[in-house]
Symmetry: C2
Subunit: 210 residues, 2 copies
């Protein structure tokens, strides 16, 4: 269901690619509309007949990416009610590898961090929904508020994802990276640091401590 007219598709694609490459080179603030149209080999007026401004273009590009990601994640979600498969994380990493430049742009917070916030918040909502339905399904009571848990997990995920995308040459496959991430996240930092058994000092968990 992309726009029917071939010229429109072509132009928007060129604008997207030009934006992404220029932002990675110079940073969002140092890219002008003229820079974009010049690299895309289009007239400046053409830009404004598609988007009201630079921000709108970025917003559109990021939204498109999210829709694509959501579509790929959808079939995996019911499965994660059952167990901790790590499949959504794996799919996220694969998707990021395929759209490396755009993910780097987002994860680096280009564009006043709006793109990153939008992306983070969408991921967090999705993760919270999975956590909630999983808690219901297994009839288990979370020890920590699932909203907070979702934020923490997304924060962890995106930090590692950024490292994985930025490190050159690629340090490991998507499978290896998410396997590692899954282990760290599920087992915790005490285990990851190399210690055995349970962490010391069971600190109070919630707002009900003395």
């Amino acid at each position: 269901m992309p726009t029917t007219d071939r010229r429109t598709r072509r132009t928007r694609g060129l604008l997207r690619d030009a934006l992404v490459s220029l932002v990675l080179e110079r940073g969002y603030a140092n890219v002008t509309v003229e820079d974009i149209t010049e690299r895309a080999d289009l007239g400046r007026a053409t830009f404004y007949s598609h988007y009201p401004d630079k921000d709108a273009l970025l917003r559109h590009v990021v939204t498109e990416l999210q829709e694509d990601l959501d579509e790929r994640l959808r079939p995996l979600v019911p499965a994660s009610e059952v167990g901790f498969t790590g499949k959504p994380a794996l799919e996220l990493f694969r998707h990021a590898r395929e759209n490396r430049d755009l993910y780097l742009l987002i994860l680096r917070g280009e564009g006043d961090g709006r793109a990153l916030r939008q992306f983070t918040d969408a991921r967090t909502d999705a993760v919270r929904a999975v956590f909630t339905s999983r808690a219901d399904h297994h009839e288990v009571t979370p020890r920590i508020d699932l909203g907070v848990l979702a934020r923490a997990w997304v924060g962890e995920q995106l930090a590692v994802l950024r490292w994985w995308l930025e490190t050159d040459p690629a340090p490991m496959s998507a499978e290896e990276a998410t396997g590692m991430l899954q282990n760290l996240s599920l087992r915790g930092r005490y285990w990851a640091n190399g210690f055995e058994g349970d962490p010391p000092d069971p600190a109070p968990t919630g707002p009900e401590s003395p």
Copy 2:
């Protein structure tokens, strides 16, 4: 060792406060130098006699904050070689509460995310140093690369910190928040979600899997 001249100190303080409040209101990109000087009740020329541009002001403000934080963290660091006290995290949360607006600005990625990157990277380096010296001290071999571990931990921390600062009214004290965070981080998501025992399916950890 702040600048000696009283007028200079006063002016820079006014510019800092004006910047922070305006950015939180409108977003970094929608704040002009004139907006800043107007709110600070200063002439526009005065701005340029202190900073070359808006970015420089933000950079300076963030750097100052980091130096302040580092000073408060320094005395706690040798202690964390010994155990997982959670004291640095607690101090970070307290510091953030005291400088709430500026932390929100940074954590939201205002200013093309440069401030957030700068802050994240500095925290990550500090954490990695602690992890490394702790591994040495306890003669324990990490199961995951400490650089990655540091990034993940900082990502988790900052995600929860942002939630804690944004949630109004304050959901819990700094002690409670970091206690919760410490439990989550050390024990892992499997525990936090309410499950007992070890997580299922020990996935491969590093780049050496089949």
